[in-house]
């Protein structure tokens, strides 16, 4: 996928939107030009702050999930015994739509950033755990034997084999979950907060009825998801260059 193609697609979507807006002719669907205008004027004011609040929550969740899910996945991936103990629980918990737990998490962790971070963490954690575990379990025994024969014990195997082997799985898991994470972030930010894009979109749309501002918030949230997606993609190409050279 080239940058030019992405740009063309963006323009095409804008044109379709413009056409729909002209046909509908209601305040609820403003012209994209109006929205972009509003986005540009609002960004240095409130919108930027809300954007940063949401960005921080997503980044913190990703960091927390990676920090906890990667070691857990690596341990389960190399110990069949532990995996047998824990995999039934993971099997049951993984498909639960975590968004339904938003009220519960809010109840337990109150207001502030923590409950939002925890909800996204729950989504990313299982995704990363499962992919890293499968990656580690799928390593060829020949590879492990030959690295062990070079003198590697458990610690060196982690450092030189398991960790680099699971890097693509970590990045794939994050990329796959970014869309869901941002969607759930929106839901989580509807409650018990006055910061974040979810709050901004809801407040400007349902309280102020300022639709260009609301769409500016939607645009910001889309850019948040898109930006994270591209960032992870870029990291993948950079850190796992071997997968892209054939």
């Amino acid at each position: 996928m080239k940058r030019g193609q992405v740009l063309v697609a963006a323009i095409a979507i804008g044109v379709v939107w413009e056409g729909l807006a002209l046909i509908v002719r209601r305040p609820i669907l403003p012209l994209p030009t109006l929205v972009i205008q509003s986005f540009i004027t609002e960004l240095p004011r409130d919108l930027g702050e809300h954007f940063l609040a949401s960005l921080w929550r997503v980044i913190a969740s990703i960091a927390l999930s990676v920090a906890l899910a990667v070691p857990a996945g690596l341990i389960l991936g190399q110990s069949q015994r532990l995996d047998r103990i824990f995999s039934p629980a993971i099997y049951l918990l993984f498909p639960i739509p975590k968004v339904v737990l938003v009220p519960v998490v809010l109840l337990f962790f109150g207001i502030g950033d923590l409950p939002k971070i925890i909800i996204i963490f729950m989504i990313l954690f299982f995704q990363i755990l499962v992919l890293v575990r499968d990656q580690a379990a799928g390593l060829r025994p020949e590879l492990l034997h030959s690295v062990r024969s070079l003198g590697a014990g458990r610690r060196a195997l982690f450092r030189f084999v398991y960790l680099p082997a699971s890097l693509p799985a970590i990045l794939t898991a994050i990329r796959q979950s970014v869309g869901t994470a941002v969607a759930v972030l929106y839901v989580a930010e509807l409650f018990a907060t006055q910061r974040g894009l979810g709050y901004y979109i809801y407040f400007t749309g349902s309280t102020l009825f300022d639709y260009p501002k609301m769409y500016a918030g939607v645009l910001a949230m889309s850019l948040l998801g898109l930006g994270l997606y591209f960032a992870v993609d870029w990291l993948h190409h950079r850190l796992c260059a071997w997968q892209f050279t054939q």
Partner: protein
């Protein structure tokens, strides 16, 4: 160099591979272990590498009881031994990095060795094995022969005194295989290595083994041994001794079945 004393090995499922098996390998000897698939030759190599342990009896290498992989033993497998995410240069340097990671602790790395500049030990092997032009490529980008050269360079960069090889050239095409066989003999003679090559190919055993151990159907209690002292370079392949050794091995293999 290697002593197996009344070694017994059985898989967890109960299949017994070696029973009361004894074998001696002298320093500097070049052995080939020959046998049909399922005869336990790879198991024997893994026992020597310290990656599996005998159920009873003992294995000693250079006088020491073998209870884990030994730093001065090099192991080369048929395939999949290279890190796919590391370049040829990084793969060749892997053993040295593992050693630096632990330091000279005598457990994972020899206690009498310091590696101040790993590059000084990597580059000569890249040059020697013709890997310098592809040093920055990944294993997925190079040929099977180049991958196996990388595996050899990685092992020899650690300066082993015992080299174990499991079907090292089996997946290569004939010209590449012959080139690497010649290289294996050359390096063995030059560095005075003790070598054990596991193979299912009679021709390879007769070329690479100055002594040949023939394993039969499991469980192995005793094994036939053949002396093949003329096997010192690839020119041996053209000699009548080589041809007669091959036919003796073939007859013995058929008789064992």
């Amino acid at each position: 160099m290697i002593t197996l004393d009344s070694t017994r090995f059985a898989y967890p499922d109960g299949a017994s591979v070696f029973e009361d098996f004894s074998w001696q390998v002298g320093a500097g000897e070049a052995w080939a272990v020959l046998g049909p698939s399922g005869c336990g030759k790879t198991t024997l190599l893994y026992l020597l590498a310290g990656l599996r342990y005998p159920s009873s009896g003992e294995i000693r290498i250079a006088g020491e009881l073998l209870i884990k992989p030994r730093p001065r033993t090099g192991l080369i497998l048929q395939d999949y031994g290279l890190l796919p995410w590391a370049t040829v240069r990084e793969n060749v340097g892997l053993g040295l990095r593992v050693r630096s990671f632990y330091g000279p602790d005598g457990v994972h790395a020899p206690s009498d060795e310091s590696i101040p500049r790993p590059d000084d030990r990597i580059q000569p092997w890249l040059d020697r094995l013709g890997l310098t032009p592809i040093a920055e490529s990944y294993p997925g980008q190079i040929s099977g022969g180049q991958r196996q050269r990388t595996a050899i360079a990685r092992t020899l960069a650690l300066d082993p005194d015992l080299l174990l090889m499991d079907e090292p050239f089996a997946s290569l095409d004939a010209p590449t295989r012959e080139g690497l066989q010649a290289l294996a003999i050359e390096l063995r003679v030059e560095r005075g290595l003790t070598t054990v090559v596991v193979t299912h190919a009679i021709e390879e055993a007769a070329l690479l083994g100055q002594r040949i151990l023939l394993l039969g159907p499991i469980p192995n209690k005793t094994a036939e041994m053949f002396d093949n002292p003329e096997a010192t370079d690839t020119a041996y392949r053209g000699s009548p001794e080589y041809v007669s050794m091959c036919s003796r091995l073939r007859q013995a293999m058929e008789a064992a079945e």
